[in-house]
Amino acid sequence: MTGRRPAVRVEDVGVRFRPYVSRKPGLPRRKLPHRSRVEVVALDGVSFEVMKGEAFGVIGPNGAGKSTLLKVMAGTLEPDSGKVTRYGRLSPLLTLGAGFNAALSGRQNILLGGLANGLSKKEIEAKFTQIIEFSDLGDAIDRPMGTYSSGMFARLAFSVAVNLQPEILLLDEVMAVGDAVFRRKSMSAMRSLVERSGTIIVVSHQLKTISDLCQRALWIDSGTVKMVGAASTVVQAYREDQAAREDSKRLEADKRERAKRGRPRRDQQSDRGNVLIVAAEPTAAGAVYGTAMAGLSGEGSAYYPLLLPKRRNQLDSLLSYAPYERLLVAAESGNYTSLGIDTTKFHKSILVHRDPRDVLVEQLMREAERLPDSALSAGLTERLSGAGPSMVELMELAGLDPDITDFLAAMDQMTSLADTGRFEEIRIEDLFGTDLFALAGLLDVDLSGTAPAWSPPSGTWRHWFTAGDVDHFAPKLGGHISRLGYDEDWAVGSEPALVVPLNAPDLPGGDYTADHTADTLEHARHGSAAAMTELAHSLVASGGDVDMAEGRAWAYRAAIQGTGEAMFVLSNCFMTGAGGPPDRDRALFWLKEAARAEHGPAIEALKAHNAATKRPAPPTPAWRPPVPMEDEDEFDDDDLPNRS
């Protein structure tokens, strides 16, 4: 690639959209949707270069930002930050046939398409025959394009795009056009364009096309660059990643299926319910952790991995109406703090903090990877086999701060988090290598029978620290560690006591009125379903918004313990919208559950409901005022009156 000149240079490009969304995505809308704007990060700090005489592929899952990236490169979308430089005339036919009008003939559309691409009428006329021949449409060229099959449409569009002889051709998802013959023809047309030192940038889901056609490729996910390099390498890495995702999804589906078939009775398991896992650690370890934890959730379902900070909005919507009962946050405390989750909503919440030593090891490994032939790399290899320089020496080699000041700052934050008492447990955990399974057990998640795609490397990093390292780090971390009851195990080779139970968790944090005795609250906090139900009753009845929301939460907690009365309260909450958005489906669900738990009033209510729904429609009166149609659809932005 040396000596080549760039065709397109993308520097640190970021794009954010602020679309209108319904505040409660996913639930059927019973009333007018509440419209608000939510920021979506489409691209974040994307940088790369495409060279002249190169076919360059862009791959990634749906919604990764591929099309946005192409639009930015084409110059039709101006990025919020960063810079795009283009060298050469662009044919940005991103979506094939963008300028076409289906009511016009193919011939007229060639003119239109060419004009839209910035060519003059004369230039297009010169290429007319060539385009028509390439498209192989024959007499159909004079028929309106509306009569074309989608293959014919795409053939003409592609023919226009490639025959305008652009210096840079941008194509979005077009490789599937036409039959095999046409595909071969278009491939060779694109190759010859590249040979003439033109540039092709193509977005496609057809990985084979990418690795066949392109020299280099870019893998993009969630708006950030995952990998740039030789097309075959990138495609291979992407394939593996997709396969791993597929596996974990299947695992989750299996679990759900099993749970559906042999559903254990609710009242026999006090701590069941959905787990919300927030792997708020934007590192490989965090992602692996989240992946491994997903699908392990027993009866409930897990949500993972929420990476900071761009998914914050998703998290909000999850928290606002999803019934997650248990919360597990894997995050450095700084990240957790910025998440600001209200732990009082959860029956059980645990914060898992990365062990600072884990971070050390990871940093060293990353540095060694970056400098493969260095003394650092050699030293680290030796260290991992139990000999060689100490970790402190390696850190000095790598130019890392041996005084670990940033970890100390993180530990400070964690300590202050512990002081708030918002979590029942804060754990220092080796997210890099240890026992995810043991961790899952904390939440009563049954892992037997699951096989995560990822397994920890053999041996744990704890054995890599020398006695000298411990002497170096221990006094620095000492203050924090002993504060959190973690002082015994800062020794080489010993198994650390991971759990750091905190005293007297203040849960939930509502400001209760005198209506409730301290006793009831105390009992409820200690898991008494009866006390929870009592609290739910009086809080819901109190009518205050905050109180009702608390009441609903208590009702939920008691309901999942199998208390019929609480289920009935919860059902009423969902029916009337007390303490949160109303939801008829869930109201009915909980009503049925309550009836199944043999709660008298619920059985009566269910009977009444059934009778009401089965009753034949009342006889039509002679005349009724016209009833406006109920329109549940969200306002459609495209649904503008047509120009006439």
Binding site: A74, L93, T95, G99, G118, S120, D637, P641, N642, S644
Partner: protein, 270 residues
Amino acid sequence: MASITSSAVGYLRRLWEHRDLALYLALGRIRASNAATALGLAWWILNPMLLAGVYFLVFGVIFPGARGGPEYLAYLLSGIFPFYFTTRCLIGGAASVTSNSRLVSNLRFPRIILPISILIEASIGFAASMLVYFAVAGPLAGYWPGVHTILLIPAFLLHAAFNLGIGALLARVAVFYRDTGNLLPYITRIWLYVSPVIWTPDRIENAPDWLSPALAANPMAAILELYRAALMGSELRQVSVVVATATAVGVGAAGVAIFIKGESRMTRYL
């Protein structure tokens, strides 16, 4: 991209390079709009004729009265056709960017091409309606083309500038607030009633005191006065010429400038 908006010369040059696109977008729509009809392009004449017929039916046959008769019909048509020209540019202009979202998000070209192509399309319709005017007003009321008809050219140019300005302005607003399209039919309807199209300017004296200044300030009134001078040889006041010119140039320039200023941000709202 910054150069697009910062350099007016560059923009004009690019606009010139894309002039054929504006024309063929308009022609394409004209062909396409009647491609599926049996009468095809004849509708461009038929539409204004039918419109004239409807008004003739209402004001000539159903309510003949004092204001009825061919004289009034000519007055009515000389107002309604230019007014429909504006309506077309308004409603079409407002939708010009949003309805071409594929084009806009895929291709780079000066976006003002889109409202311009709407203006071209509407102008062709307006030209057809002018033929219909003389075909009706000539034999019925004796308003044949004459020397005064030359005024039609400046009247049209000013009117077109005015229409383009409003169309471009609304196009920009509609990109950011799609609600615009829903409001327009009502706004144009009200505008029709406050403009001297159906009523004659002398009846303004009958309007309530608070309304008269508003009616007098309506730029459409000045433009229509130009047209009536051209089409009916009626009196043309100097003040109307000044008002029509000032509003046309002002609204035209402002609308186009505002449109161009928002151009670079449009794609992300489509």
